[in-house]
């Protein structure tokens, strides 16, 4: 697996696409892991009207600024649509959660759009405890 470094998150900012209520526990865990490591997170979900502990933006238009890096936690179909919009908005790096939501064809499309990609769970790089061990063996950590 590719090593995930802080440099990947340009300006220490990241867009979190797909922050959902259904998987809020995991989403919050990732949000907190990014934040506690000095990365400002902008969560986005255009469908969910959930009750969140953090501010979740309805669309990219609502954001005060659009970071150059995005973390995408969507299913394959939605991820495909999101990638095009992200490219149009100037996102140049995308971190996908796993190969389920980013198959080879999507990664190739990202490459065509000039987007650098990494497929890795951010908890392996920014999490604690077992996540650290997982990240070490997966080669995501230094």
């Amino acid at each position: 697996m590719v090593r995930l470094t802080m440099e990947f998150f340009e300006g220490n900012q990241v867009l979190f696409i797909g922050y959902s209520e259904k998987y809020q526990a995991f989403c919050k865990q990732v949000y907190q892991a990014f934040s506690n490591n000095g990365i400002k997170v902008y969560p986005v979900n255009n469908k969910d009207k959930g009750n969140f502990d953090v501010k979740v933006y309805k669309s990219l238009e609502d954001l005060p600024q659009i970071p150059r890096t995005a973390y995408v936690l969507l299913n394959r179909k939605s991820a495909g649509k999101a990638v095009k919009e992200l490219a149009e908005k100037g996102v140049r790096r995308i971190l996908f959660q796993n190969t389920k939501n980013a198959d080879q064809s999507l990664l190739e499309e990202c490459s065509r759009l000039g987007i650098e990609t990494i497929v890795a769970c951010p908890m392996m790089r920014f999490g604690t405890g077992f996540h650290k061990i997982h990240g070490f063996f997966a080669g995501v950590r230094k």
Binding site: A25, N36, N51, F52, V54
Partner: protein
């Protein structure tokens, strides 16, 4: 956006269950020394239980969930069914987890103790031997290690121990040897203390477990009889817990929470970020009552304790109150663990507070004026005021709790204190009254506490209303990008990036996120209920809200919630319960 306490308990269900599991293993040690093969048997039972629980949890929650509760079930089951052949034990533990736990919805939702279900299932095919333990001095320290778990269900636990001891005395079998080998403490401290399946109800817990402990020893197959007794008690507990409850009339819980960063005179820094103070039209003579009330209203004095309610409405309601005796309580208790500025005010602005009180006395004839402070925060009491020390616990400063403590008056959540002749004002509000009435100054600034939790430094900051939170963070060079704002450390929300200081913000903090892991596995420990100052059935309300039917929580009166955040702070499952109660409260009100 939800609010949450910035500090929470370091304990979790998993920590406690790991502790129970360790004690259960220690119970097995003497038998392992006698027969090392049992180690392999237990390893097999444990492995099956962990794999089975993990797989079912993964299917149910679509994620990995800690299975330490399955290990505890395996530990209890194996201790009691140690003489059963391995294949019987494997079948028994499977029945325990599937029939005893997962068909009910998993951990926290099961009615019966899974290990007891496993014992009942095994009893159908095998005779389970008793006593369960061979006497060994090695078990004596284990008994001591079992005792802390009594705290989860003290009535049931002590009732069982008392019942079984009484039966031993009644049967003339009482001896230390029997006390240990018959597992009196094992059953009492590790089986009857299961918070999921045994009720918190003291009468049911005590009476039921005395009966189980006493009757169990009267049968020939004691393990089976005890298991049947426990399962019956579980069933009664489930029924009792679902019956409508009377209002909880217990005393307010005394939860002492240490200050995140304690106030230190001379070290806690005061910073004034208000440039160009607004022009002041200072009148030499004190204005009359009409003018005072006009100035308080026009200059926008508001409740600085966090509610931001217009003070003029409170004062007028007290003036109009038909109560014969009227009381003024100045709230400087500052029970929230994050706030420090009220403490600073009573040390540096007591003259202004005293004058503010004189102004209020011109408007209302008070029978008593009390300055309520936290015990230990000794200050010199100005003339005409009575000093009242409130014990250091949270939420001692909540309006109705304070009235009850100072005046002995119990007000319901529907009562408005000022209409009952009790005017409770935050100490900073009294200062603002002085500024508004005497100096005729617009209230456009306030004191807040800013805490840098990473560097353990704190500031008392005077800021203008409308000031950018980010600017305050930049000026004070706070160490983390995570900012939290709110009425105090127990009611914070995440800073979104575009908010300013308003009437409700008393506290800004920078630091790491508190760890709310939002585990789906509530152990029904009852800590949320026990720590709720209103005695709400928080776990039940949260369960209903999680089901997506917040309106159905109406019968548990979520509107009584004062949003103190105590439930979220103590939740062993790491759930933000106060947000759920708040959601139910909003739905019920709408």
């Amino acid at each position: 956006m939800n609010t949450f306490p910035l500090i929470r308990t370091k304990l979790s269900n998993e920590h406690i269950m790991a502790g129970v599991f360790a004690v259960l293993v220690l119970y097995m040690l003497p038998s392992w020394i006698d027969d090392p093969e049992k180690i392999m048997s237990f390893a097999a039972v444990l492995a099956v239980s962990l794999v089975l629980d993990s797989v079912i949890n993964h299917i149910r929650f679509k994620k990995t969930v800690c299975s330490v509760s399955a290990a505890v079930t395996a530990g209890i089951y194996f201790n009691l069914a140690a003489g059963v052949p391995l294949w019987g034990q494997l079948l028994g533990i499977t029945a325990a987890l599937v029939v005893g736990k997962h068909i009910w919805g998993g951990t926290g939702k099961n009615i019966f103790n899974p290990a007891m279900v496993g014992i009942l299932f095994t009893s159908v095919f095998f005779n389970i031997s008793y006593p369960s333990f061979n006497y060994s001095w090695l078990l004596l320290p284990v008994l001591l290690l079992s005792l802390p778990f009594i705290s989860f269900r003290p009535f049931a636990s002590l009732g069982f121990i008392a019942g079984m001891t009484a039966a031993m005395i009644f049967n003339q079998d009482f001896s230390l040897h029997n006390f240990v080998s018959w597992g009196v403490v094992f059953w009492g401290c590790l089986v009857l203390t299961d918070p999921v399946t045994v009720s918190l109800n003291p009468v049911l817990g005590l009476a039921g477990s005395i009966a189980v402990g006493f009757a169990g020893l009267q049968f020939s197959n004691i393990t089976l009889a005890l298991a049947v007794g426990v399962v019956t008690l579980n069933l009664l507990s489930a029924i009792a817990d679902r019956l409508p409850k009377r209002e909880n009339r217990r005393a307010v819980p005394k939860m002492t929470i240490k200050k995140i960063i304690p106030y230190q005179e001379g070290i806690t820094t005061f910073v004034d970020l208000t440039e160009n103070e607004a022009a002041v039209d200072q009148t030499a003579a004190l204005p009359d009552k009409v003018e005072i009330l006009k100035r308080i209203g026009v200059n926008g004095v508001f409740g600085m304790g966090g509610a931001a309610f217009p003070t003029i409405n409170k004062i007028t309601a007290t003036v109009d109150s038909k109560e014969a005796s009227k009381h003024l309580i100045i709230n400087a208790v500052e029970c929230d663990p994050g706030l420090l500025h009220d403490n600073w005010i009573i040390r540096h602005k007591m003259d202004e507070i005293s004058k503010g009180v004189d102004i209020l006395k011109r408007c209302i004839e008070f029978e008593s004026v009390t300055l309520a402070i936290k015990a230990g925060n000794m200050v010199e009491c100005p003339q005409g005021m009575k000093l009242f020390e409130v014990p250091d616990y949270y939420p001692a400063g909540a309006e109705r709790i304070l009235i009850n403590r100072v005046l002995g008056k119990k007000l319901s959540y529907k009562d408005i204190p000022s209409k009952k002749g009790v005017l409770v004002l935050n100490v900073q509000t009294v200062w603002a009254i002085y500024e508004a009435a005497v100096k005729n100054k617009k209230i456009d600034s306030r004191l807040i506490t800013v805490a840098d939790m990473r560097n353990k430094s704190s500031y008392i900051v005077k800021v203008r209303l409308g000031e950018s939170i980010q600017r305050i963070a930049d000026e004070l060079k706070l160490s983390s990008i995570n900012l939290f704002i709110g009425g105090g450390a127990m009611q914070c929300r995440n800073y979104t990036g575009d908010e300013t200081v308003d009437n409700t913000i008393n506290f800004i903090a920078s630091g790491s996120f508190p760890r709310y892991k939002e585990s789906p596995q509530c152990s029904r420990c009852g800590f949320c209920r026990a720590n709720c100052p209103e005695g709400l059935m928080v776990d039940r309300i949260a369960q209903i809200v999680d089901r997506g039917d917040a309106a159905a929580a109406k019968r548990y009166k979520p509107e009584k919630c004062m949003q103190c955040g105590s439930c979220s702070r103590v939740c062993l499952a790491g759930r933000n319960l106060s947000a759920r109660v708040n959601a139910a409260k909003a739905t019920v009100r709408s």
